[in-house]
Amino acid sequence: MSELLQFLFSGVTVGAVYALVALGFTIIYNASDVVNFAQGEFVMLGGMITWFAHQAGIPLPVAAFLAISITAAIGVAMNKLAIEPARGAPIVSLIIITIGASIFLQGAAQLVFDKQIHDFPAFSGDAPIRVGGATILPQSLWVIGGALAVFVGLWIFFTRTLLGRAVLATSNNRLAAQLVGINTNFVMTLSFALSAGIGALAGVLATPITLTAYNVGIAFALKGFAGAMLGGMGNPKGALVGGFLIGLIEALTAGYLSSQYKDAAAFVVILLVLFVRPQGLFGRKSTDRV
C-alpha cells in the first residue's frame, strides 16, 4: 500500500511539471493554432535565469519574478519576430520555426550561462513529508499547487473574463473575432506572454527537484506535448489531465512493470487513445478546413 502511494506521489510530482508545460502549449495553440515546440525552452529559461540571478546575490523570490518576466518578454518577442510573420504557413513549416526557436534559445542559453547542471534551494526546505509510509517533498507540493492554481486561473480567465473570451473567440475564428472588434494581435501577444510565463513558472517550481541545464528543454517539450495531445489540444482541462496521466503512467510502469519501458508505456497509451479518439480525451471534434 505504501508502495503504491509512493508511486502515485512520484507520478503526480512529475505529472504536475508535464501539466504545466502542457497548459503552456494549450494557450498558444488556442490563440494561434501553433504547437510551440520551444515551450520546453521557457521551462529551461525559468530555471536557468532564476539560478543565475540567485547566485549573483538576488533573493530567490525576486530572481524567480525576474525569470518569469524575462521569459514572458522572450515569448512576446518570439511571437512578434517568428510566429506573426509566418501567419498562414503550413503546419510543417510552423513546426520547423518553433523547433528552430528552441534550438536558437538553447544556443543562446549556453553562451549566456554555461553548460553545467544547476539548482537553487527548495522553497520550503528539503525535509520530506511522510504520509502513510510514503514520502513527498514539500517542493512537490509547490509544483502540484502551481499546476492546479494555473489551471484554475486559466479556467476563470477563459470563461469569466471578457479578455479570456476574446482569446477563445480568436482561436475559434480569427476573422469573425476581428469583425466583432477584438484586437487579435493583442490576443496573440498576451497568449505568448502568458504561455512563456507559465513555462518559466514551471521551471522555477520544478528546478529544486529536477535540476536544470541549458539542454533540459527538449525533454519537457516532448512530454508536455504528449500530455497536451493525450488530453486533447486546446483544452486546459485536457492539458491538466493529460500531463498528470503521463506522469502517473510513467511512475506506475516503472514501479510495477519495467522502468526501462516506462516512457514506452506513455507513448503506447497515447497511440491507443488516439486510435479510439483521434481528437484526444477532451479535444473538440476537429472540423476539416477545406
Binding site: L94, G100, Y261, D288
Partner: protein
Amino acid sequence: MKMTPKLATLLVLGALVLLAPFLFPSNFYYRVGSLIFVNAIAVTGIVILTGYAGQISLGHAGFAGIGAYACALAPAHFGIHPALAVVLGAAISGLLAWLVGRPILRLKGYYLGVATLGLGILISMMLNNERQLTRGPDGIDVPELGMRALLKGWGLDLTNGQFWYYFCGLCMILGAWLALNLHDSPSGRALRALHGSEIAARTVGVDVARMKLQAFVISAVYASVSGSLLALQNKFITPDVAGFMHSIEMVTMAVLGGVGSVLGAIFGAAILTLLPQVLTIFAEYEQLVLGLVMMLVMIFLREGLLPSILRKLRRKGE
C-alpha cells in the same frame, strides 16, 4: 528529346555528383558528399510523404534505425549478405509502416505528429534497451559491404571515401528517379490531389486512405535504405540514428530546401549537412545559427530555399 522537369532534375543531380570531385581540396570532401547523398535519400522519402501527400511524420528516423540495424544484425544472425540485409530492412520498415499506417494516418496535423513521434521513440527505445540484441547505446559493428573489393577485381580501384561517394550518389539518383516517376504517375496525381484537399480528392473518387498509406510505406522504405547506407558506410551504428533529433533533421532538410520538389529537398539536405562543417570556425554559435537559419528560411522563403531562389532568378530573367 524534350527536356521534362524529370529529366532536368536527373541531369542536374548526375552532373553534380560527377563534377563536384574536381573541386574537392582533399579526400575529406568525399565523406561529406556521401553523407549528403545518404541524407538526400531519406529526404526524398519525405518529399513523397509531405510534399506529395501532405502528411507529417516526426518519427521517420525510426525507419532509418530499422534499416541500419538490419545491416548490423541480419548478416551476423542469419548469415545473409549485407546487401540483402538492406532489402530485408526495407521490407521490415515497409511492413511496419503498412501495419501502423492505417490507424495512424486517420489522424491529422499535430495528432499525426505526436503519433509518428511516439512510433519513432518506441523504435529508438527498443534499440537502446534490447542490449542482448543491439548492444545498446554504445553501438554495434556493421559488416563490410564488400563491393569495393569486387570493383577492385574489375580493375576499378577506389578509396573507401570515393567508393561511398559514388555509390551513395548513384543510389540517390536512383531514388530521385523513382520518386519523379511516382510524381508523374496516376498515383502521384492522386496523392497531390489529396494534398490540395482531402475532401475534394475523396469526392473525385480517390481512395484517400490507401493513397496516404502508400506514401507512408514508400517514404519509410526510403528512410530505411538511407539508414542502411549510413550503417554500411560507417561500419558502425548507434541508436542515435533512430533518435528524435534525426527525425526532425530529415523533415527540416526537406522543408528548408523545398518539400514540393525532389531537387529542392536534396538541396536542403546538402545545406544542412554542410552547415555544421562550415560552422566549425565558430562552433560556439553553431546552435544559434542553425536555429536562426531554420526560422528565417521558413518565414521569408516559405516554399523553401530552392524554389524561392529559382523564382527570383526567373523574375530577373524576364
